[in-house]
Structures are given as structure tokens and as C-alpha cells.
């Protein structure tokens, strides 16, 4: 019986993975082939999806991208052994895009059957929790501190420090909340884990609960992710059945259970306090801090809130030791980052690598430049609130501090590429428009400022009163940046100002105040 892997990751499904699986099953039946089709997660090479893999003694051999109508041809060419077929990719692990990666967090993703606990365990699963239990809660927190892991949701705050605060906070109950709202355009790491390695998240959250003394966890999933929600729910059910969730987790003498909640469908609900409001059944309105969620979070109780990738990185850290994780990286950015390449890019997908790689290497070498074949003009890093980088800044190492020094954002690890047809003034207007659309409306700079920002940009694009409107735009950005309650309004100026700074020519042919000097 040969094991065949066909992803059921939604990115693969969108390219017809189900149809491919059906066609293959039908062909196998018709020809009496002994094939076992496993629906795995994605390897994160989207230009190869659906990527069909065949298990062989020499490792997994890949074929892709396979369309349903390719199946008959593959079989005719001898599939599951058709090395001569044009879609044959050879050993998957040898594909450069994959081979260059350092897969800590995504080690299993695409490799295993996502809903097989046996598979999970066979690939090192639950070793992290076992070690945590043997270390004890306090030492587990220390281990996460030592790993240097920083939040992968946006702000890059040290995860261990956050856990420590919750651990030391007093409260009637404590909660662990996973932020899987994944609102950044062109990001998909959270979804890939939920669909491709859900137990990694469960294990990570369980370790967090054990370390901080929480008994209940919530996973707040973006509403556009129905497959991920289904996968998570299935995995939670399996974990419960195996005693890995419930009243006595892993017979370790502590209780923890998980619940999946569907997001409210707005970008700002990914902001942690708005997410808490939403989880409490209220409008997704941002709360002022302090109090920090670590002190008064969900239902007013101390709560760990982390991005999904932050949690999913923890099992490796505990299993292999903090040092193994901290040994790679750059400056104060330790470990690896699952970088998500999107937009106008040839090799789009997920690329997990130690911090320190340069932006240019990521775009030009790993990503292979634009999909359109035209020159790369700008890259928006870190989601819709991140700055646009021109080619001139492609030497920037992928590192929180280095990016920040150039007014940029690592954020959730998204990189969106644009070719030379992009109009950066329109992109700046779009940033304001996005803010106006997604603003929760609580604070003035963002609520009114984003609408005024659109209006000012419209006037600029129409060429009205350029220098006065540019001055107004700068003042407005200053007000929003310093005055906004949360990063929604506070970071919107970054894409706007970076467009203006690096691509002034798009803001009109005439001399700009800065250039005039």
C-alpha cells in the first residue's frame, strides 16, 4: 500500500486538491492500485499546489502543481512512480525553497496527517508538554523567556515575559487566548497550522495554561476560515478523547480545555482588547490599557493572549530546549520566523527562516521576483499597517529592530510585493481608506482622522493645493501616530508616510516641500 499525500489546506483546495484526490482515488479503484490517500497540510509552496507527494523508501517524491485532468496522464506515466512526468519534482525535501528553510514551528506542517495524534506524536508531538510537566510551571515560563521568543502577532513583545506577568497575577480564574484572527493581507501562517498541524497549537496553548495556571482557553479564529475552524474542532475532540485536554491533562494533575470562537469579521477584532470584547459578546471596541490583559483580560481575569504562531512555536522550544531556539536569529530577534510571501511574487508561500536574512534575498532570491516578470518596486512588510520598502532598503536584515529603525514592521511576517506599475499615492490613500473602513471608532484621531486622510489624499491626487495639503497630511499623520489609542490608527501613518518618503514622485510632478530645499 503506497501512501499518497494530497493537501487539504485551503490554499490547495482552492487550486482543486479535492478534485485531484477524487480523480486519483477513482483511477486507483479502476486500476486496482493499492493507494492510501492521506490529506496532509500544505508545505507552503503555493505555486506548486496541489502538490501530490508519494511516500517512497527514498523519501517523499513530489508532483505539482497537479490539476485533476493531469491525473490520468500521471497514472499513464506510471504514478505513483512517474519520475519522467513533466510535473515530477523529485524529492520534496530537496526543493530549494524548502531546503533553505529552518523549520522549527512548521516542522510537521505538510508532513503529517493533521488529525492523527499518532502521527503527531511520531514526529515529536507532546514531548514539549511532557518536558514542561517535568520542569514545573515556573521553570517552563523561564524556558520560554530564555528562548527569546517574541510575539508573532504584531508587536513582538517577549512571550515569556508576558506569561510571567500572568503567572504572577492574582485572579479567580485565568485564561489563555489564541489570536487567530489573522487579518493582515497576504498572511496565512495561522491558517496553515490550524489546517496542517492543529495539535501543535493545542500543545502550545496547553503548555501556556500549565505555566500560567489557566484552566480554559479560547481560539479566536477569523470568520473566513471555516476549514480551519472545522480542523481545530476535530483536533480538540481528539485531544480530549486522548486525555490531552480535559480535567486531568496528560495525567499531569491539571485541567485545561479549549473552545474555538469564530471572529466578528473585522480587522480591528484582531487587536487583542477588541478581541476580548468580542469574546465577551460585545462590540469589538478597543479597550484602553492599562489595565493590561495580563492583569485584567478576558472577563476581567488575568489572560495570556498570543498570536497562534507564538503558541505553536512553544512545543519546539520546550522539546528541544530554549537554547536550540535561541541559537539561531539576529540581534534581539531570536529563533525563526515563518515569513509569508505574497502579492505580485513568483514563488509565493510560507518560508520559515532564522531572523537576519535580508529583505532583498527574501524577495529576489527566495521569492524569485514578481510573478508579472516586471521589476519589483515596493514591498509592504508587516501587513496593512506596515511601511512600504523601496528597493533601496532591500539590504535591511529581517529583524524587529532593524525594521523599526527604518520605520518598518515585522508584524505577523507578511511581505506583499508590488511591481513598477503601482501608484504609491493610491496606495497611501488606500491605507487611509482601510483605516476608515476598519476603525472601531473609539478614538478621535483614527475615527475622524482616517476619513479626513482619504479626503486630503483625494485632493492631493487631484493636484489641489499641493503644498498645503501635504503639510496637512503630515500633521494628520503625526496626530494619528501619537494620538491614536491602538495601532490601527497609530500605524496607518506608516504606509502613508513611507509612500510619501520613498516615492515622492507619485505624489505629483511638481517639487515637494522636502525636495524644494
Amino acid at each position: 500500500m503506497t501512501r499518497i499525500f494530497i493537501p487539504r489546506d485551503s490554499a490547495a483546495l482552492a487550486c482543486g486538491a479535492d478534485e485531484v484526490a477524487e480523480a486519483l482515488a477513482a483511477q486507483a479503484r479502476a486500476r486496482g492500485l493499492a493507494l492510501e490517500i492521506v490529506r496532509n497540510g500544505s508545505r507552503g509552496m503555493f505555486w506548486l499546489e496541489p502538490l501530490v507527494e508519494v511516500e517512497t523508501p527514498a523519501g517523499r517524491i513530489g508532483y505539482g502543481p497537479v490539476a485533476p485532468e493531469d491525473v490520468a496522464g500521471l497514472i499513464a506515466a506510471g504514478f505513483p512512480a512517474a519520475p519522467a512526468h513533466p510535473l515530477a519534482l523529485g524529492p520534496v525535501a530537496e526543493i530549494a525553497f524548502l531546503k533553505r528553510q529552518t523549520r522549527f514551528t512548521f516542522a510537521r506542517c505538510g508532513l503529517t496527517d493533521p488529525l492523527s495524534l499518532a502521527d503527531y506524536r511520531a514526529h515529536g508531538g507532546y514531548r514539549g508538554l511532557a518536558r514542561a510537566l517535568s520542569l514545573g510551571a515556573a521553570e517552563t515560563v523561564e524556558e520560554v523567556v530564555r528562548s527569546g521568543l517574541r510575539g508573532r502577532g504584531g508587536a513582538g513583545f517577549p512571550t515569556g515575559v508576558k506569561w510571567k506577568t500572568v503567572r504572577e497575577a492574582r485572579g479567580a480564574r485565568k485564561y489563555v487566548v489564541c489570536n487567530a484572527d489573522e487579518g493582515d493581507s497576504g498572511t496565512f501562517a495561522d491558517r496553515m497550522i490550524m489546517e496542517g498541524d492543529p495539535f501543535a497549537l493545542i500543545e502550545g496553548m496547553t503548555i501556556a495554561a500549565f505555566a500560567t495556571g489557566a484552566a480554559k482557553g479560547y481560539i479566536y479564529v477569523r470568520s473566513e476560515y471555516p476549514d480551519a475552524i472545522a480542523a481545530m474542532n476535530a483536533a480538540i475532540g481528539l485531544a480530549r478523547g486522548a486525555g490531552l485536554l480535559g480535567p486531568d491533562v496528560m495525567a499531569g494533575g491539571f485541567a485545561f480545555d479549549l473552545e474555538v470562537r469564530k471572529g466578528a469579521g473585522s480587522y480591528v477584532c484582531g487587536e487583542e482588547t477588541a478581541m476580548l470584547e468580542s469574546l465577551e459578546g460585545k462590540r469589538g471596541m478597543v479597550r484602553a490599557k492599562p489595565p493590561l490583559p495580563a492583569h485584567k483580560g478576558l472577563f476581567g481575569q488575568p489572560s495570556v493572549i498570543n498570536n497562534l504562531v507564538s503558541f505553536a512555536s512553544v512545543p519546539f522550544i520546550l522539546a528541544e530546549g530554549a537554547k536550540a531556539y535561541a541559537d539561531v536569529g539576529f540581534g534581539r530577534s531570536r529563533g525563526t520566523m515563518p515569513i509569508q510571501l505574497a502579492g505580485n511574487i513568483r514563488h509565493g508561500g510560507l518560508y520559515e527562516i532564522a531572523f537576519g536574512v535580508s529583505l532583498g534575498e527574501l524577495i529576489d532570491e527566495v521569492g524569485g521576483g514578481t510573478a508579472s516578470g516586471r521589476p519589483v518596486r515596493a514591498v509592504q512588510a508587516g501587513g496593512p499597517l506596515g511601511a512600504y520598502f523601496p528597493r533601496a532598503l532591500f539590504d535591511t536584515p529581517y529583524d524587529y529592530e532593524a525594521f523599526a529603525a527604518r520605520d518598518g514592521l515585522i508584524g505577523h511576517g507578511g511581505l506583499v510585493v508590488f511591481d513598477d506599475t503601482v501608484d504609491m499615492a493610491r496606495q497611501a490613500r488606500f491605507a487611509m481608506e482601510f483605516c476608515a473602513l476598519e476603525s472601531c471608532g473609539k478614538c478621535t484621531p483614527c475615527r475622524i482622522g482616517s476619513v479626513r486622510g482619504m479626503e486630503v489624499m483625494d485632493r492631493l491626487i487631484a493636484g489641489e493645493n499641493r503644498s498645503a495639503n501635504l503639510a496637512l497630511l503630515r500633521d494628520l499623520c503625526n496626530t494619528m501616530k501619537w494620538g491614536s489609542l491602538c495601532a490601527m490608527g497609530g500605524f496607518t501613518p506608516y504606509p502613508v508616510m513611507s509612500a510619501l518618503t520613498h516615492f515622492p514622485e507619485d505624489f505629483g510632478p511638481h517639487s515637494l516641500p522636502a525636495a524644494a530645499e
Binding site: 462590540r283 483614527c446 479626503e455 496626530t479 501619537w482
Partner: protein
């Protein structure tokens, strides 16, 4: 005179004992831990601009003008949401801050009407103030941008208007509705720029859950929400602090004036009973003082069928004195009497009883408090030693469990109800014992742990059953009882309640409540640790009213829930000065301070002061006065500020008594129902027109200040004084304060009270004397006033008022939020928009049995009489129980109520009447006859005919 300016510190006080030292703009400042930087600065005299923060609400952090810089911290934190920390160095004015603040204000201004002169609040608009203070000089965004300028106004509420164009979405009003009032009527609808305030489900204020408390109007920093009176009259220019004349909460208000006109009443932040909150009545329903129905000239007539004749004050007073002397000459000294009012001031009440005792020469004085809270006096005096509630309102903040019985605070004591709700939202637990599912049982974010929907008239039974559980399950606070109470009395009581016939299992069927529920409620009350009892007329207005009060006192003693903060036995008084009128010696058997008239020493004190001998025999109570009138031995009555025809039970009995009298004198603002039977009408003055004091339900004495001259020419006490003079007993007060001085001299519990002291302290809770110069918030602290607490046996005796085949339903009565008592004032305001008639609440089952549908006219009949009103079919009332209010004279619910009354005090049994309900076509014959009578007896002769 100027407008009182109250400092807004931006955020509530932190209430922590630990102090934190920090530096603000170079000055070293020390404040309690957890104080906001904004408040710390304000307290140090450093003004930081703010818009969304106000010190009655928790910080929110939305406007972003209060930003500051803190050395060593990045960003510009909002000072309202950032607490102080030891050693931090804060700068409130830097160039960076100015730029951002100005930027924010420019954004605000870009979405606000720019014709500032059209703004009703003018300079008081905080948006303008902040814009000016941050130096906003121009708005560069142009005027063609997207704004809310065209949004429709909501003018549905009669008292205030909402103009969304002037709304800055600071959420202050939304939060006020939630945090201060607890109604949750407002929400922010929409997101981002589309965010706007919406009342309920976008239905407008009038149709929403809004109860018109005004908290949102007060919280609004701009003119988005504003009193219609301000729009009409302009902003006030001076203000005077006074006390609400409606209910027993006793809210302090600033009467904000323009010249002699009241523009608006604004709750006063320093009011110790209300802390800046109000309800619709005190806040908005004061327009009656200027109503055209007010009578401003004295009138007399020979027979009640004659038209009234306007006369001079001199003639009216002389006529009255002559009549009273004539009657006393003919029928004896005891043939006249007086009724004091719980609506009038302490000074006025004191003077009326003095008039009766000293000038009439008898003790025939009684008060309408008889009809509500005399059982409180009796019950608490005999157990604890004082006729008054044990706590201040603030005490509720320390309560862990509240037992609310026979009270409906959200309607009758709204401001205190908001305090209760706030405490309940913070986690305190609630037990409600009431036949109706009152609002408190379930309101937003509040839910009673237990509601015991007892049959009307079974209070004592259920309280005995609760006591049974406490005693038999070992929940008694033995140490407290041993130390603080009479042992023998306790033992006897404990034995009594422990009897099986008092067990929940035995009592359950009697009061119609699941025994398990009674046990659970008893355990919760006993568990505390701080359990407080709040009760109202649903306890007192019963044939066993006094017994119920005693039963409550027993429970508090048995569980040690008395004598400290957070506990106690607290009557919620109906009218503004019920407590005061009782304190002032309004009862026939008591002089001020609850001292018996038969007590020689007390009498001697008063005789010396008043220079007349006093009768040692108690005089007639109100119901006895009517009996005596019908018998022909009681012929003259002076009624100040009270409408006994409408408010006293068994209207037929009252009217028969009045009709038999020869001289009935009514002193009131309006030709009320009782005036139909009067021979002399003396115009009264409203609370806005006099000086004096009211005493609220927590024994708090507060000043009532004259904000305008009496329209009728005299404050009410002056009229009493004139009458005394005409009767040959001259009095020489020149100001109400002199009456208070006399009260203080003659009443040990008031010894330390004077107007000067009240001016100084704001208010004071009696006892106030040498031992307690600042008053007494919580009573019975180290020991009971009577020494040891005394348990009394409370045997349940079912009322004689029983349902039977003819009258199978039980009627109970109450009041609603927007109307007050007999409605004389509130009916003369726009409050009638909410409650323009009395309705009969009936359970769907009972309605169906009788073929009654929502809104049908029904006849409500008891053995005492019948009336008609319309039906409201609702599950708020249990099957077998019907409920109505008594605000409208057309209904005359008290035609139905019987003459049964409390055994100890004659307090009438308003709360239980056996009735039948049947469909009908309209008003009863009696109602038609009565309204005909009303028309006939209210005629006033034209001025020419008077000559």
C-alpha cells in the same frame, strides 16, 4: 450670585490608602495609589485638557486630548487611563503634546457645526473650551468633507433633545446610562466614522428603555444632549443648591436660574444622598410650580356646593380662626385638629403640630406618614430603640447580600436603585420578596439570586419561615446575640420560630412559594457576610405591618447584620419628608424626637418653652378623626399639603368624614381632591419658594433653599404662624432657621442641628448632638439605642381581608417611576407622556378566564367599592394577584381599598384587598358622580361676583 462651578477631576477617586509620590510639571505631588495621572494633576491644580473623561465615570480613553509625556516611557499615554506610579516625572505641556492636541481638536472641529453662535451651551460647551485652551485657530480640512451635519435630531423626549450633529461620540452619555443609571438604554451603533449614539434599537429616546434620569444629559460635554429648557431660555447665570421635594432619597440639586426663572435642575455632585445623580421627577418634573392650575389667592365659601370666593389673606385667616373658635365653643376643645404633611419642611411640620397642641389646645395632630411608615417607627423603636432606618445610603457599597422586600426601588426610589444596581453589578447578591416581578429582579447585568413571589399579605409568614431556617440550621450569629441582645427574649423568639408550623415546608403553601426557595434565600441572607435589608410600603401597609418590620429587625439581629456598614434594616421612605414629619412630633401621642406626650418631663420642657399647658392625653389619629366627624364630635380640620381623599384608604369613609365637618381648611398648591370638601383654601408655596429642611430616608437633614419669592405671597410656615396669631397664640419667627433652632433646643437628637451647621457640613444625619457633632451615618454601632436589642415574637395572623367566591383576586397597589404619589405635581408636567392613566396589571391566566384583553376597560370591585380602569395583561403579577397604581384621581384606586389597618399603628392595609375584576364599558357610576362633584366643587366665582 453666580453659577456654582463644580470641579471635574476627570476620573473617580481611587479610594486607596497607600500614597504614591510623583512629579507633575516640576511639582512634587502625592496621591492615593491607582489615581489617574489626570486626577492627580487636577488635584494639584494642573489642568490637562479632557473631553471623554469626567469624574463620575470610569476612564475610557477615547478623545485623546489628555495625553501627557512621561520621562523614560515611549509614546504619549492618555493621562485619564494611566495610573500614577512612584517617582514618574510627568510633563503636561510640551510642543509635541500641543501639536497632537491641536490636531485632535482640529479633527473634532472638522465634524462639528461651525456656527458657534447657534450652540445652546455657548461657552459652557466643553468642546469649545478645550479647542480654545489648545490654541486651535483654524480648521484646514475644508467644509466639503464628510460630516454628520445632516443627521436627524431626536426631540421625542419632552425634556431633552439630541442633536447628533453636535455629538462627538465621547461615549460619556452612553457610559452614564450604564454606570451611573444602570439602564443601558444607549449604545453606539455603527463603526468608525459612522459610529453614533443610538437610543435602544434606533427607536428614539421616548420609545426606548430610557427612564429620563438625565444622567446622559448631564454627562454630555457638548450640546448634543441638552435640556429643552436651556434651548428655550438660554444658559442659566446663577444657581442655588436645594433638595428634591419628591421622594425619600432626598437628592440635592442645583436650581440653575436666569433671574427669577428656573432654567433647569441639575443634581449636585456633593449631594451626599445622590452624589450627582437624579431621576426624572427631581430633574425634570418641576414645571408644576408654574402651572396655570396653581391657586395663588386665598378662598372661602360657606358650603362646599358654593363656588369659591377669592378673599384677602387677612380675611381668610380671620375667617378660619373665627370658625375654629366657634366650633371649639360649640363642640369642645377636642373638636378640631390638624394634619401635617410629609411634603412640607421639618419647620412647617413642627409648626403645625405646635399650632394644634399650643393654639388648638389638644393633641389632634396626625400625619399622612400614618398611611405609609408608622409601622416602621413602631417596629424599629421596639426592637432597636429608634424609629428610623439604621444606615446611610453609601452603606450599600459594602453590602454583599441585599434582601429587598415590599419595595420597588427602580420606580419609587430610582436614584438609590441605581446605587443598588451598581453594587449588584459589582457582584453583590440579591433576594427579592414581592408578589410582583419588580424590575430589579432582572435588569441589564443584574439578576436576583432568588425571587420569592409571595401572596400579598403573607410577609410575616415568609419572614418567620426564613427565621426558622436560620435558627434550626444553626445560622444564628451567637456571639452577636449573646453580646448585644436580650438573652431571654431571644430564647423565646428562637423557640417560637423553630416550631414546625413556621418551617418553610409549612409556610410555603400559605404564601405560595416553594419551600426550597425560602430555605435557599434564608441561607444566602445568613451567609452575608454583610447582608442588608431594604423594605418599603409593601411591608408596612398591611394589617401586620408593624409585625413585619419587627420580623425584619429580628432577622438582622439574629444574623448579626446590624450596627456596621453594609448591613442594617432600611426603610425606603415614600415621600421626601416622611422621616422628618415623624421626627417632628406629628403623631397624636408623640412630641418631636418620639417622646410620649404622657411623659411629664418632656411635656414640662415644651410647656416651659411654649408657655402653655399641654394635654397629656394623645389625640385622635386620622381615621378616628373621620369617625368622630361622622359621630358629630369633630368639626374642624386644618390640612397642610396633603390630599387625603386620594391618598388615604377607603375613600368613602374619608369623604363621609370630611363632608360631615363644618370647617375644612386645605393649604395646597392646587385645588386637590380634598379641596372639594373644603371651606377655606389657603394657597401653598412650592419647595422652590421657601427655606427649610427635609429629612430623607437615611435620617439626613438637608437644606431646602428659596430660589424665588413665593408666588402666593407666603412660605407655608408663615401661614401657620398667621393662623396661630389669629387664634390668640402669637408666634414670632422671622425665618425658618429660627424654628429649627427651637427644634434643636427641644429635641435631644437634633441638639446639634442648625442652619449654620447645615451650611457648613452640607447635610447631617441625626442623631446630631454633643456625642455626634457631625451626625450619625450608621446607628447602633457599639450597642443599640435602647441598650440591648430585643427580639419580639412575630406570630403570623392572616389578614381578615380574604379572597372568596365574590372577590377571588388579591389587589395590591404601588407607584411608578414617572408619577409621584397622588400625582398632583407630576400629572401637571410632561411626565404624563409616560403614564397618562392608571392601569390594572392582571396575569394572562386570570385575564383569559374573564375574557379580558390588553387595553380593555375592566371593573375592579371590592366590598368597599368599585372603579373602572383599563387592563394590562402581564406575567409580572402572579396568577390570583392584580396590581395598580394610584396616581390618577379618575381611577381612585382607594375607593377599592378597605379600612383594615395595622394593629399597632392604624397604618392602612393598602397592599391587600380582595377584589373581583370583570369586563365593562367604561367608568363606574361612582366615578361619574365623583367627576361631576369635582366639576361642581371646583368652581371659582368670577372676581366681580366676589364683591
Amino acid at each position: 450670585m453666580t453659577l456654582i462651578h463644580e470641579t471635574d477631576f476627570g476620573t473617580p477617586p481611587a479610594g486607596s490608602a497607600a500614597m504614591v509620590r510623583l512629579t507633575i510639571d516640576g511639582a512634587s505631588v502625592s496621591v492615593p495609589e491607582a489615581t489617574s495621572i489626570l486626577r492627580a494633576a487636577m488635584e494639584a491644580g494642573v489642568q490637562i485638557p479632557k473631553l471623554c473623561a469626567t469624574d463620575s465615570l470610569n476612564a475610557f480613553g477615547s478623545c485623546r486630548v489628555c495625553l501627557v509625556e512621561i520621562e523614560g516611557r515611549g509614546g504619549l499615554p492618555a493621562s485619564c487611563t494611566t495610573p500614577v506610579a512612584p517617582g514618574i516625572v510627568v510633563h503636561t505641556q510640551t510642543e509635541r503634546l500641543s501639536a497632537v492636541r491641536r490636531g485632535v481638536m482640529e479633527l473634532y472641529a472638522s465634524d462639528h457645526p461651525r456656527d458657534w453662535f447657534s450652540d445652546p451651551k455657548q461657552g459652557a460647551n466643553e468642546l469649545f473650551q478645550v479647542a480654545a485652551s489648545v490654541g486651535l485657530r483654524e480648521v484646514r480640512y475644508g467644509s466639503d468633507g464628510c460630516t454628520h451635519g445632516a443627521a436627524a435630531k431626536d426631540e421625542s423626549n419632552p425634556y431633552f433633545a439630541f442633536d447628533p450633529a453636535r455629538c462627538i461620540v465621547c461615549s460619556r452619555y452612553v457610559r452614564a446610562c450604564e454606570e451611573t443609571q444602570g439602564t443601558y438604554a444607549l449604545t453606539i451603533a455603527g463603526r468608525g466614522f459612522d459610529s453614533r449614539v443610538s437610543a435602544g434599537m434606533e427607536e428614539g429616546f421616548l420609545a426606548s428603555e430610557c427612564v429620563s434620569c438625565g444622567a446622559c444629559v448631564q454627562a454630555c460635554p457638548t450640546s448634543a444632549l441638552i435640556e429643552k429648557s436651556v434651548i428655550a431660555q438660554g444658559m442659566p447665570e446663577h444657581s442655588v443648591v436645594t433638595t428634591c421635594a419628591y421622594c425619600g432619597v432626598g437628592c440635592a440639586f442645583k436650581a440653575e436660574m436666569r433671574g427669577e426663572q428656573v432654567v433647569r435642575m441639575v443634581p449636585w455632585k456633593d449631594g451626599k444622598a445622590n452624589h450627582g445623580h437624579s431621576c426624572i421627577k427631581g430633574r425634570f418634573a418641576w414645571g408644576y410650580a408654574n402651572h396655570r392650575d396653581r391657586i395663588l389667592n386665598p378662598m372661602v365659601r360657606a358650603k362646599i356646593t358654593d363656588p369659591w370666593r377669592e378673599v384677602s389673606w387677612a380675611e381668610a385667616i380671620a375667617h378660619t380662626a373665627a370658625e375654629f373658635r366657634r366650633i371649639q365653643g360649640k363642640y369642645g376643645r377636642g373638636s378640631v385638629g390638624g394634619i401635617t404633611s410629609s411634603r412640607c419642611t421639618n419647620e412647617e411640620t413642627f409648626l403645625v403640630q405646635k399650632l394644634v397642641r399650643a393654639a388648638f389646645g389638644n393633641n389632634n395632630v396626625d400625619t399622612c406618614a400614618r398611611v405609609c411608615h408608622s409601622p416602621t417607627g413602631y417596629g424599629l423603636k421596639n426592637t432597636f430603640g429608634t424609629s428610623a432606618g439604621t444606615q446611610d445610603f453609601d452603606s450599600v457599597d459594602q453590602a454583599d447580600v441585599m434582601l429587598v422586600i415590599g419595595a420597588n426601588p427602580t420606580d419609587a426610589h430610582p436614584v438609590f436603585a441605581s446605587r443598588m444596581k451598581r453594587r449588584l453589578r459589582a457582584g453583590a447578591k440579591l433576594i427579592v420578596i414581592d408578589p410582583r416581578r419588580i424590575d430589579l429582579v432582572r435588569t441589564p447585568h443584574v439578576e436576583a439570586q432568588y425571587h420569592l413571589p409571595i401572596r400579598p399579605g403573607t410577609n410575616v409568614a415568609v419572614l418567620d419561615a426564613i427565621a426558622h431556617v436560620i435558627v434550626t440550621e444553626g445560622l444564628v450569629d451567637e456571639a452577636f446575640v449573646r453580646e448585644r441582645c436580650e438573652g431571654e427574649a431571644f430564647r423565646r423568639w428562637a423557640e417560637f420560630v423553630a416550631e414546625a408550623r413556621n418551617s418553610p415546608e409549612a409556610i410555603g403553601p400559605v404564601c405560595g412559594v416553594d419551600p426550597g426557595l425560602i430555605r435557599a434565600a434564608a441561607r444566602l441572607y445568613a451567609a452575608g457576610p454583610n447582608s442588608a435589608i431594604y423594605y418599603g410600603l409593601g411591608v408596612t401597609e398591611h394589617s401586620q405591618g408593624s409585625t413585619s418590620v419587627i420580623a425584619l429587625a429580628n432577622l438582622a439581629m439574629a444574623t448579626g447584620n446590624i450596627g456596621r456598614e453594609g448591613v442594617g434594616v432600611n426603610p425606603l421612605r415614600g415621600q421626601n419628608n416622611v422621616q422628618g414629619s415623624c421626627d417632628m412630633g406629628s403623631f397624636p401621642h408623640e412630641l418631636s424626637g418620639y417622646r410620649h406626650i404622657s411623659d411629664g418631663a418632656t411635656r414640662a420642657l415644651f410647656e416651659a418653652a411654649w408657655k402653655v399647658p399641654l394635654d397629656a392625653e394623645p389625640g385622635l389619629r386620622i381615621p378616628n378623626m373621620f369617625d368622630a366627624a361622622v359621630d358629630g364630635s369633630f368639626m374642624g380640620l386644618y390640612i397642610q399639603g396633603e390630599d387625603i381623599v386620594q391618598s388615604d384608604p377607603d375613600t368613602h369613609h374619608v369623604t363621609a368624614g370630611l363632608a360631615a365637618m363644618e370647617c375644612v381648611v386645605v393649604q395646597d398648591l392646587f385645588l386637590n381632591e380634598t379641596a372639594q370638601f373644603a371651606h377655606v383654601f389657603l394657597p401653598g408655596s412650592s419647595f422652590l419658594e421657601k427655606d427649610g429642611t427635609f429629612t430623607n430616608a437615611e435620617r439626613r437633614i438637608q437644606l431646602v433653599r428659596r430660589v424665588m419669592a413665593p408666588k402666593n405671597g407666603y412660605e407655608d410656615w408663615e401661614v401657620t404662624q398667621m393662623l396661630a396669631g389669629a387664634l390668640g397664640y402669637p408666634m414670632h419667627y422671622t425665618h425658618a432657621r429660627e424654628i429649627m433652632d427651637e427644634i434643636a433646643r427641644l429635641t435631644p437628637t437634633f441638639a446639634g442641628v442648625s442652619f449654620a451647621r447645615l451650611e457648613e457640613l452640607g447635610s447631617v444625619q441625626w442623631p446630631c448632638n454633643e456625642q455626634a457633632p457631625e451626625g450619625t451615618p450608621v446607628m447602633h454601632m457599639g450597642g443599640f439605642v435602647r441598650g440591648k436589642g430585643r427580639f419580639l415574637i412575630t406570630e403570623y395572623v392572616p389578614t381578615d381581608e380574604k379572597v372568596g367566591p365574590r372577590f377571588p383576586l388579591l389587589l395590591t397597589t404601588g407607584r411608578i417611576l414617572t408619577q409621584y404619589n397622588v400625582g398632583a405635581q407630576t400629572r401637571r408636567t410632561d411626565n404624563s407622556l409616560w403614564h397618562d392613566e392608571d392601569l390594572l396589571e392582571i396575569h394572562p391566566q386570570d385575564a383569559e378566564d374573564r375574557g379580558i384583553r390588553e387595553g380593555d376597560w375592566v371593573k375592579l370591585a371590592s366590598r368597599a367599592g368599585a372603579t373602572s380602569l383599563r387592563a394590562k395583561v402581564t406575567e409580572r403579577v402572579a396568577p390570583g394577584v392584580v396590581y395598580t397604581t394610584f396616581h390618577h384621581p379618575e381611577t381612585q384606586a382607594n375607593v377599592i381599598t378597605t379600612d383594615y389597618s395595622d394593629w399597632a399603628t392604624n397604618c392602612p392595609e393598602y397592599k391587600v384587598t380582595a377584589v373581583q375584576v370583570s369586563p365593562t364599558n367604561g367608568p363606574t357610576e361612582w366615578q361619574e358622580h365623583y367627576s361631576e362633584l369635582g366639576r361642581a366643587t371646583r368652581r371659582i366665582a368670577p372676581a366681580s361676583a366676589a364683591e
